[in-house]
């Protein structure tokens, strides 16, 4: 079971959380002006990296807050967690060990 470092509560077990998919995909300000293909990409297209991936997580059975996390999809190590709205941290890959 993953151990996830909620930026508000600290380390808690995975069962308290819910993963909300890829992070840093902002909803367009004026959707009406977006072309069909671009809107389709916004809705459905996600990256699937082998390595560090930015994800949204919800501490649903805890503080109820959403936050972002960098998780290594190979090792499942959490490289960083950070508050929603903060920029993606620049993390060196050697920190990626669990």
């Amino acid at each position: 079971m993953l151990l996830i470092d909620c930026p508000y509560c600290g380390k808690r077990p995975e069962v308290e959380f819910h993963c909300g998919g890829e992070a840093h995909i902002a909803r367009p300000e004026t959707p009406a002006e977006i072309a069909d293909a671009d809107w389709g990409s916004f809705l459905y297209y996600r990256t699937n990296p082998k390595g560090v991936h930015a994800e949204r997580w919800l501490h649903g059975h805890g503080c109820g807050r959403w936050f972002n996390a960098l998780r290594d999809t190979v090792s499942d190590a959490f490289v960083a967690t950070y508050e929603m709205g903060a920029p993606r941290p620049d993390v060196a890959p050697e920190n990626a060990k669990a």
Partner: protein, 1003 residues
């Protein structure tokens, strides 16, 4: 049974505490400290079960958790009644105590005489892949003949027939360092890791006492003292440290992400005096900062003909029985080995009084100091010999051996009479937990073994589980691992104890050389699944080259022992046949659990009503008293209907639905999801989340809100009331409440953090009582204070706050039936009292309690949709005919842009319509498919499906709703609906079937 093979002295047993166990109805005697295996051997009983496939007689192979053969059914508390028996317990790890009742398995009529043993004679039939090859044809035989026969033959023990009567507990723990295994490496690691008195250390070991292999060792010295003295001193040092927890009888069975290690502790199985109610086992979920794996190694059996005969055991196990349990497994012991370690067995057994000789596959030149030591002790050593076969059936009676000439030819055979064989093919590090942690294994040619390579988590291995076998080196390695786990960089610091040099080294052998016809010989590789070398050869010949394929085809290594004793022999055999280096064949994946774990331990207290707690409404008690039939809806239990004497569901629902249309019905709607949306930006937030316009909704007004996902499909719906400028009372579907709140929070927190809004779930705070029907107002009137119920003062789709029965109330004038209706929201604690008052008053007006089934029929009669029934995540508002609820004015809301995508506005989408069967009494199946011509060839194009279907007493016929391609343009057309027997005809209508009379909801 007496104990003729018990040695007069020695052993780690308490001779002052005799005990007895019932074995197949006979009395088996022993002492505290015994296992059932050591008691059986003390009594001279080697035969301990019948094998899985061939029903061959099997004995005790091992002394530990890797035992594949001696599997027993154990009734742990026969004196307490049923529910305490479980099958497939390894005799070698069942601690003996009074009142245990154990039985052997997999035989009929008895262990001694087993009809199933005929399989052994039929073995040419039961080749590898037998199931795949045999049960192919004829197809019709599968259900009636093959499957029942296979099911009866499958498995080893008998599953318990009643539910487990024991209790199980579970516990979470955190530590800085978890040490798995309390042998010399683990003890050393725990000593080093806890030395600072600060680091919290947990030391867990599957055995009943610490020591590991040293428990079997009476000759090694550490710092000049017997090895077990060092163990005792180490344990007492650790015990004295407050930062150390020692857990005996605790098996670490699973190594998961982020150093989450699951262990199961035997709490009471070994205690004759266990008080009733004490948990049987405890699941430990440990989150460790660092892990030290000191899990030891497994001895490899030798593979030769009839190597499974009772009396043939692993060499280290023979040593363990002699030294630890003071039992001589035989009087005439042949040690057959390719490993130096087995010489110690020979020496110890000889010291204990057995006649011993050694057959070594290795040449003299390849042996170490062990050879001379054995010779000096007067033991005959036959070096460069192979074992051709074992003699005897229910007990080994001899071993046929022969020298191997330098050219590889088999020399002159010789039969060595014996009643016990101690065999060793070398050692396999136990890398199970390391591999489970997703560490990468590395093949070490020198060691002929996979050892831990690259770690994936914060762990390190120490001692035999990484191929270090010499005692002094093992202790030094454990100390270094313990220090490194504390973060020390100088891991070599401190003094290392001196220890007697161990006999180490072995020559890998896969299958012993023989001149017998290899295609006829039964030489077992996997004892538990009855897989022979010949089966593996056949699999390779048939083209299975990957070990993962060979494993599945032959089932080698797939038994409950996870191939602890068999994996390396199987791998080596396959590599040898294919003439590839062993790592090229690969190794199989190790998965939890390391040893079998009871379901009880895994679920702990989460069983029965605690497994899936039932959510009940405040009115549930009344419903139960009034004969409701319940159904689960999401996590809730809801009253489905209230049958009167002699009524079935159909009759009850017909009566309930008629009562609502003709008088008044009362319905418990408390499960409706309720969310309060509060804050200066509440209306703006509602505007963005729902398709409707909210800014202009007056305080006191209600609106039916429709919510989409960003992809434009209907997500949820419900009535929303504006209680104040900055306060909305939102209702959701019963099942949708949690996800709707999450959906709202998601947008609020991640997309619009600028909005000043708070969301609060109030589902459980309010009980909701729906009064529906022409007389609803009359029932309610006497109880209301502070609210004018008249049509003018309180029109449809409005809300007022006041009092009902003197209880604060949010009163909604809403309807989910088309009739005049009110929903009375009162604080949950008052729900039942208000319900009772209304119900009693309603008696004057013909009030009828109705359940969810009638609710569904009533809403369908007037064409209201249920999200999740009419919708399936691919339905747009327009598909439902609800485009009127979608604001054309708002620039944006969640899902708006998607509604303009080409596929969302394409012609021919499935639209919600009604379906009227030609036969008005026929109720079609929900989910049935709709086609326009049933005579088309299969696969037939389907043009829609039925979403709801009921018998409606108010309409006097069946009604149904369906999503049909271009449906709204096809009203009046006949379509064909699938039925269990074929098709039936129905006519498309609009999706509303009943015209409300009198004062309607929409008046």
């Amino acid at each position: 049974m007496s104990q003729p093979f018990r040695l007069p002295s020695g052993g780690r047993i308490d001779r002052k505490r005799p005990l007895s166990v019932s074995f197949n109805g006979k009395r088996l005697e022993g002492f505290a400290g015994d296992t059932v295996a050591s008691m059986l051997l003390a009594s001279g009983q080697h035969l301990a079960g019948r094998s899985f496939k061939y029903h061959r007689p099997r004995g005790i192979l091992s002394h530990g958790s890797d035992e594949p053969s001696a599997l027993l059914s154990v009734d742990w508390r026969a004196d307490r009644g049923p529910g305490y028996r479980d099958p497939n317990n390894r005799a070698s790890v069942v601690e003996a105590r009074d009142s245990l009742v154990v039985k052997t398995q997999n035989h009929w009529p008895s262990l001694e005489t087993d009809i199933g043993a005929v399989n052994d004679l039929l073995s040419p039939v039961f080749v590898a892949g037998f199931y795949y090859k045999t049960f192919m044809w004829p197809r019709t035989f599968w259900d009636k003949v093959y499957e029942p026969v296979i099911r009866r033959a499958a498995g080893l023990g008998e599953a318990p027939e009643v539910k487990d009567a024991d209790r199980y507990s579970n516990r979470h723990a955190h530590c800085d360092v978890l040490v798995v295994g309390a042998g010399p490496a683990g003890l050393a690691a725990a000593l080093a890791a806890s030395a600072d008195g600060e680091k919290r250390v947990i030391l867990a070991d599957e055995g009943l006492e610490p020591g590991g292999a040293l428990l079997n060792d009476v000759t090694s010295k550490i710092d000049g003292k017997p090895a077990m003295d060092w163990v005792a001193e180490s344990v007492s040092t650790l015990d004295a440290r407050e930062n150390v927890v020692i857990l005996p009888r605790t098996t670490a069975f699973g190594y998961y992400n982020h150093n989450h290690v699951c262990m199961v502790e035997k709490v009471s199985d070994h205690r004759a005096d266990a008080p009733e109610g004490l948990a049987r086992e405890r699941l430990w979920q440990v989150r460790a900062g660092e892990v030290v794996l000191a899990t030891g190694s497994h001895e490899r059996p030798l593979v030769f003909e009839n190597n499974d005969r009772p009396g043939i055991m692993l060499a280290e196990s023979v040593r363990a029985f002699v030294n630890r349990w003071a039992v001589l497994p035989g009087n005439e012991i042949v040690v057959a080995t390719s490993s130096a370690s087995a010489y110690q067995t020979a020496l110890d057994a000889k010291n204990a009084g057995a006649r011993v000789s050694i057959v070594d596959i290795r040449l003299e030149a390849d042996c170490g100091p062990e050879l001379q030591t054995a010779k000096d002790a007067g033991i005959t050593v036959r070096s460069g010999h192979t074992v051709i076969r074992a003699l005897g059936k229910k007990r080994v009676s001899g071993l046929v051996v022969a020298p191997i000439d330098p050219d590889g030819a088999i020399g002159e055979k010789q039969t060595l009479a014996c009643d016990c064989v101690a065999m060793s093919g070398g050692w396999t590090p136990s890398v199970h937990l390391f591999s489970q942690s997703r560490g990468k294994l590395r093949f070490d040619v020198e060691l002929d073994a996979f050892v831990p390579g690259t770690s994936a988590q914060a762990e390190r291995s120490a001692g035999a589980c990484r191929g270090i076998y010499d005692l002094a080196a093992v202790i030094a390695d454990g100390l270094a691992a313990g220090r490194s786990a504390t973060g020390a960089t100088d891991t070599a610091a401190g003094s290392t104890p001196q220890a007697t040099a161990s006999f180490t080294g072995f020559q890998p052998v896969r299958v012993l050389p023989t001149d017998a016809d290899a295609s006829k010989v039964k030489a077992f590789v996997d004892f538990q699944n009855d897989v022979t070398a010949k089966d593996i050869r056949l699999a390779v010949r048939e083209g299975f080259e990957s070990i993962e394929h060979v494993k599945r085809y032959t089932t080698t290594g797939m038994a409950t022992d996870q191939g602890k004793t068999s994996n390396m022999n199987a791998l080596g055999l396959v590599a040898g046949i294919l003439d590839r280096p062993l790592p090229a064949v690969g190794t199989t994946t190790f998965r939890p659990p390391y040893t079998p774990v009871s379901f009880g331990a895994l679920i702990g207290p989460a069983r029965d009503e605690l497994f899936d707690p039932v959510r009940k409404t405040p009115i549930d008690g009344w419903a139960e008293k009034n004969g409701a039939v319940f159904e689960p809806v999401a996590l809730w239990r809801r009253a489905k209907y209230f049958p009167q004497a002699g009524e079935d569901m159909h009759g009850a629902v017909a009566r309930e639905t008629k009562a609502v249309r003709n008088a008044v019905g009362i319905f418990d709607a408390s499960t409706l999801g309720k969310i309060e949306v509060v804050g200066p930006d509440a209306a703006e937030f509602m505007n963005r989340i729902y398709t409707n316009a909210w800014l202009k909704l007056k305080v006191g007004g209600c609106r039916y809100g429709l919510m989409l996902r960003e992809d434009g499909f209907v997500y949820d719906d419900g009535v929303v009331a504006r209680l104040a400028e900055d306060r909305f009372h939102v209702t959701t579907t019963t099942g949708g409440a949690p996800r709707v709140l999450r959906h709202m929070e998601d947008y609020l927190q991640t997309e619009w953090p600028d909005l000043d809004v708070f969301l609060t779930s109030i589902t459980e705070q309010w009980a909701v009582i729906a009064l529906q029907g022409p007389k609803a107002r009359k029932v309610l009137e006497p109880f209301v204070s502070g609210i004018d119920l008249s049509e003018e003062a309180f029109p449809h789709m409005t809300v007022q706050s006041g009092f009902v029965c003197g209880v604060p109330c949010r009163l909604f004038r809403v309807s989910f039936t088309g009739e005049l209706g009110f929903e009375v929201n009162v604080p949950a604690d008052y729900g039942e009292a208000v319900w009772k008052a209304l119900y009693e008053e309603g008696g004057k007006h013909g009030i009828t309690a109705y359940g969810t089934e009638a609710m569904h029929v009533l809403r369908a009669e007037v064409g209201y949709v249920v999200v999740g029934q009419e919708t399936d995540g691919t339905v747009t508002p327009d598909d439902l005919g609800l485009s009127g609820l979608v604001s054309k004015v708002k620039a944006d809301f969640v899902g708006k842009r998607s509604l303009a995508r080409p596929d969302m506005v394409a012609e021919g989408r499935r639209q919600l319509v009604g379906l009227l069967t030609k036969n008005p009494d026929e109720v079609i199946d929900e989910g049935a498919q709709v086609v326009d011509d049933p005579h088309r060839p299969i696969p037939m194009r389907m043009i829609g499906h039925v979403t709801s279907s009921y018998a409606s007493s108010n309409c006097g016929r069946s009604i149904a709703m369906a999503l049909i391609e271009g449906g709204r343009g096809r009203i009046g057309e006949t379509v064909h609906v699938t039925t269990p027997g074929g098709f039936t005809e129905a006519v498309i209508s609009k999706a509303a079937f009943y015209e409300v009379k009198g004062e309607t909801a929409d008046a």
